[in-house]
């Protein structure tokens, strides 16, 4: 239990997928203009990341390792993630049209979010068991959501300031991301060893 809590806190704050591993920058830059869309993207990522980690772990343990095919993890995880996203999209479209409309184009966009693949591959490197992998996926999603909403808040405020024209758009966002990464490094003292 304490183990899971440590994984959760460290993935959300310290080893954040966006700020520490610099994964998922593309949707992070693209969708962080408005708080509502950032939240939508974040929720979708939490959902998919948790499920993808769970499914990927099962396939890795019971299919790939038994056949000595651990090296296929890259291909197989991408396959799992792409199919999972399609299935989730079909379910959401059928059973919750308002949610489908709210998430809109974000759901298929998550397939190419490298943070999802990153979370799956990292859980293998860190040798997590099933429960730890699921918690890792969930925490990764939460961390992503927090950061993307913080960025959306900052960018909405930024619209009222006079950004120099060379910095407008992606440039200033990346500068801010760098600053956020530095800030969140301050959390690394929370968990001692």
């Amino acid at each position: 239990m304490k183990n899971l809590l440590i994984i959760f806190v460290s993935t959300v704050l310290i080893n954040n997928l966006v700020l520490y591993y610099f994964l998922g920058i593309c949707p992070f830059l693209g969708v962080s203009a408005r708080i509502e869309s950032a939240f939508g993207m974040g929720v979708a990522v939490i959902f998919v990341m948790t499920l993808a980690n769970a499914l990927s772990w099962l396939i890795y343990k019971f299919v790939l390792l038994n056949l000595g095919l651990g090296f296929l993890q890259y291909l197989v995880f991408i396959l799992v993630i792409a199919s999972l996203v399609q299935i989730v999209e079909m379910f959401v479209r059928k059973f919750s049209p308002p949610l489908y409309k709210a998430l809109g184009i974000f759901l298929p966009l998550i397939t190419v979010n490298c943070a999802i693949l990153g979370a799956s591959l990292l859980m293998v490197t860190k040798n997590y068991n099933f429960l730890e992998s699921v918690v890792y996926g969930f925490a990764g999603g939460i961390g992503f959501t927090i950061i993307i909403m913080v960025m959306a808040g900052i960018r909405e405020e930024l619209e009222y300031s006079e950004v120099p024209s060379v910095f407008k758009g992606a440039a200033i966002t990346l500068v801010i991301t760098g600053l956020l990464a530095l800030i969140f490094m301050g959390f690394s003292g929370i968990i001692s060893a």
Partner: protein, 268 residues
């Protein structure tokens, strides 16, 4: 060699298994939608460029079906597909499209013509400036460009603090109408063989008050209403155009030329 074969077979089976699951689920979880949407999508160029202002070709098709009118914003498709789409959604009376409209900004004053006796410092957006007011005229265009940002096709431009709308690019989506805090935008019909005319002033105060704030405002002198077959009429100290009466260009043009403050514009 054995590993390669095992790897290929495993990957193949996994991929095939997922494909089967997806195929099965897509049958089971099918959502019924209007078949015309698929027909329209097959007519569109499938570029998903978003030039029309909607979320891809599917978004365009859905908007057409939902609103029952054809948007003219599909740049790759052009006018040829509009006719085909018209047949599908069954526009009444053959292939005639409903009269197209375009957005016009009803403030015609440029830099120097609208008076600005106070200095504004604050967020440079129209919505913010409108709250405190930055021009002398309470109805005039603040020219901080909220409409330019809202326009999905980039049809709106700003020159010398006056807003210009390019009629060809306007898809009459109405975003500018929503976003302008002074409600200056109006969707007017594009008259065939004539173009777009509008009286560009929204200030309905009397002559003396208008002269104090702007040299280009409509003073309701009525000269435009007195040309032959004039489609202009006066209401609330402002001149307006009755578009149902505007069949020829001559009265519109004459009214525009007679206007002493030159507040009647023709949009290009």
């Amino acid at each position: 060699m054995k590993e390669i074969i095992v790897a290929c077979i495993t990957l193949g089976i996994t991929g095939f298994a997922f494909a089967l699951i997806l195929a099965f689920l897509s049958r089971k979880l099918k959502v019924e939608e209007d078949p015309r949407i698929t027909q329209i999508i097959s007519l569109l160029p499938a570029a998903n460029c978003g030039a029309c202002g909607f979320a891809g070709c599917r978004g365009f098709a859905q908007a057409v079906i939902n609103e029952g009118k054809i948007f003219s914003g599909c740049i790759p498709g052009g006018h040829e597909i509009n006719e085909k789409i018209a047949k599908i959604i069954g526009v009444k009376g053959g292939i005639t499209l409903k009269q197209k409209t375009a957005a016009t900004c009803r403030c015609g004053a440029q830099l120097g013509e609208k008076k600005e006796s106070s200095v504004y410092s604050g967020p440079f957006t129209c919505q913010a400036a409108h709250i405190t007011g930055s021009l002398d005229c309470a109805y005039g265009c603040l020219s901080y460009g909220d409409c330019i940002k809202a326009c999905p096709t980039g049809a709106i431009t700003l020159k010398s603090k006056k807003i210009y709308v390019e009629v060809k690019k306007c898809i009459a989506c109405g975003k500018c109408v929503e976003v302008c805090p002074r409600k200056l935008f109006e969707l007017v019909p594009i008259l065939s063989n004539i173009g777009v005319y509008n009286v560009c002033c929204n200030n309905n105060e009397k002559l003396n008050n208008i002269k104090k704030v702007c040299s280009r405002g409509c003073i309701a002198c009525g000269l435009c209403t007195r040309v032959n077959d004039s489609p202009y009429y006066l209401k609330d100290n402002l001149s307006r155009i009755d578009f149902t009466k505007a069949k020829e260009e001559t009265p519109l043009r004459e009214g525009k030329e007679k206007c002493p403050t030159r507040c009647i514009f023709k949009l290009e």
